[in-house]
């Protein structure tokens, strides 16, 4: 018995070591071919094939570059990325969302793309999008995709309740009035769903006409009448036109399932939900989110950056540019409803409107006319967590809205200081 185990152990050790010596590295392979690593969170699991398509098109144009894609789920992506940067094995190129961009750029982890661009400056981008990924005047990343948040609504519930359908002119007051009429607790139908958390708050704040940070970015400014108004707007829905935290009970994708099962009339969510709603058995559509003092739509922005330590800066730039703005990449993203490409060419974007569902796809572009970008600071995640936590206290009735905002502002100021 023991001998078997020992033999097995030996065999195993031999395999393990042989694998060990076969370490794959990014050193040039045969024929001077360059292996370029690209690390991404947005491709797996649904769009890996789409990314493959883009990679193949790129390799066809750049036969000397071999792009190796590595994926990780979003929840663990940054754990893995940071560890590899700390250990000096950062991927040559990787995806970064807007909220994390500043942290990485200011830490010096990113390659200034201007130094490797040569005379192939990035073109064809929507200007505002490109500027979002500049830091200290330098282009540290190229925007690769974006998505916005719109108001989804269930047409049948509106018709059944005899409520007029939402329009682009709606304000909070219209939304609230409709939500109250649509909510039917006996039938377990809710009028509205908008999570009480950081991302909704900064946007509602802008809709109310407030600002999150002072212009110099050194102090929080959301503990203001506008802030109270925005937080109250979010919090007041809970338990009235929207299920409470206790009712949701932490069920995963509660809101998605609620909407899909036809028991939610209005739903604030991102355009990435389009694909998943294709087959629901009722009519639905989208509209630009209602505003208050002004309109403002949340935008989630992803970019592709190159590691400061990459040995293949030129190739990294070529790949980033291809992934971000090439025709192949843009049309692939549009055809698969895999977020939107940040290109300025309206002809390419028009393809997005061809898909018949939802009917009002134009709302996605309309929402871009007035956007709200999240406030970004160095200790980003801590700020997001603090704001979400305090708002949660208000939503659960453990604190008043004013108390919650005061506490959140104190925490954010401490993080800034």
């Amino acid at each position: 018995m023991k001998k078997t185990i020992a033999l097995l152990a030996l065999a195993v050790l031999a395999t393990a070591c042989s694998q060990g010596s076969a370490t794959r590295d990014t050193t040039p392979a045969e024929g001077g071919k360059v292996t370029l690593r690209y690390f991404t969170f947005s491709a797996a699991p649904d769009h890996e094939k789409d990314l493959d398509k883009i990679v193949q098109a790129f390799e066809k144009e750049n036969p000397k570059v071999d792009v190796v894609v590595e994926t990780a789920p979003y929840d663990q992506y940054f754990t893995k990325l940071q560890t590899s940067i700390a250990g000096g094995t950062a991927p040559d190129t990787f995806e970064l969302n807007y909220e994390n961009f500043v942290t990485y750029a200011s830490a010096g982890s990113l390659l200034d793309l201007g130094t490797v661009a040569g005379d192939t400056a990035p073109t064809g981008f929507a200007e505002e999008s490109l500027n979002s990924f500049k830091h200290a005047g330098k282009q540290f990343a190229l925007p690769a995709s974006f998505s916005t948040v719109v108001l989804f609504y269930n047409k049948e519930l509106f018709e059944k309740a005899g409520v007029a359908l939402p329009t682009a002119d709606w304000t909070w007051a219209d939304e609230q009035a409709a939500a109250e009429k649509l909510t039917d607790k006996k039938a377990k139908v809710y009028g509205d769903f908008q999570p009480v958390q950081f991302f909704e708050f900064y946007k509602a704040l802008k809709q109310a006409g407030g600002t999150f940070l002072s212009d110099d970015g050194k102090k929080s400014t959301f503990n203001s009448p506008e802030g109270v108004k925005a937080a109250t707007w979010l919090v007041s829905k809970v338990g009235k036109t929207m299920p409470t935290e206790a009712e949701i009970g932490g069920t995963a994708d509660y809101d998605t399932n609620l909407f899909k099962s036809g028991k939610l009339a209005m739903w604030h969510n991102g355009i990435w939900q389009f694909a998943g709603l294709k087959d629901v058995p009722f009519e639905w559509d989208v509209v630009v989110e209602p505003g208050d003092a002004t309109k403002a739509s949340a935008v989630f922005h992803n970019s592709v950056a190159a590691s400061a330590g990459t040995k293949h800066g030129k190739e990294a730039y070529a790949w980033a540019k291809f992934l971000a703005s090439s025709n192949v990449a843009a049309t692939t993203r549009i055809e698969s409803s895999w977020e939107l490409p940040p290109v300025s060419d309206q002809a390419v974007l028009d393809g997005y409107l061809k898909d018949p569902k939802p009917a009002n796809r134009q709302a996605v572009f309309d929402s871009l006319k007035s956007i709200a970008l999240p406030p970004v600071i160095k200790r980003q995640q801590e700020m997001q967590d603090a704001v979400t936590q305090e708002l949660g206290n208000a939503a659960a009735g453990r604190a008043t809205v004013q108390e919650a905002l005061t506490a959140a502002a104190a925490k954010v100021d401490a993080l800034l200081g």
Binding site: L8, T15, E70, P73, Q76, G88, D253, Q273
Partner: protein, 268 residues
Amino acid sequence: MAKALKYLVVVAGALVMLFPFAWAVITSLTPDGAVLASPPDFTPEGAGLGAYERLLEAMPFWRILANSLWIGLASTALQLITSAMAAYAFARLPFPGRGALFAVYLATLMVPLQVLIVPLFIEMRTFQLTDTYFAVLAPTVASAFGVFLLRQAIQQVPREFDEAAVLDGAGHLRIFAFVVLPLIRPALATFAIFAFMASWNSYLWPLVILRSPEFFTLPLGLAELHGRFTTEWNVVMAGSVVSVVPILILYLFAQKHVIASVAQSGLK
């Protein structure tokens, strides 16, 4: 009467214990959309193996399963050997500093893995070992938990057993292999399960050290199923069910072994 009551308690408890597993199985058989309905539907309409099929498509399932299996078995075998031997030393071979060294072993259990990940990664990087099977396996080879568990077991073996062997002129290696090991088989079997589980469920370390999909283990594959914005719980549950089965088999095997060994050794 007392016996009936005892049965009632045990059966009721067993039902409570069985519940999550039954729930996971049922969820895995539930078609998309009907998942996690509230209240739950225990006889879902259109039940089928769709989620399992999707599991097979969504990742190179067999490759990932094979990786997890061989790493798990290798890790278990190595842990059993290294831990049992060290446990014997701590229980039966007095040497200067033995207590202190044992304290060091115990101390390694007291630092959260989360802060060791980055230093360990840098160490592996220094040896050019990132993204290898070796890097996944190596940190699991020595188990302080196992040394502790088996030391307790060896200390429970009456000394006259090995002392009799000493009188026969047997060396420590022989006493270890032929006297002590057979007597602690229940503990070895128990530890084998935990050793396998530790490797099988290990997530954070493989996540950061591996980057080539062909080396991925099951927990990494399952995590990939959680997309950024959507989650198909029936597929996740199918994966969870699949991931429990090998441990269950190992447990049933080990349990049989424990009983057999107890009967054989004549302790009872």
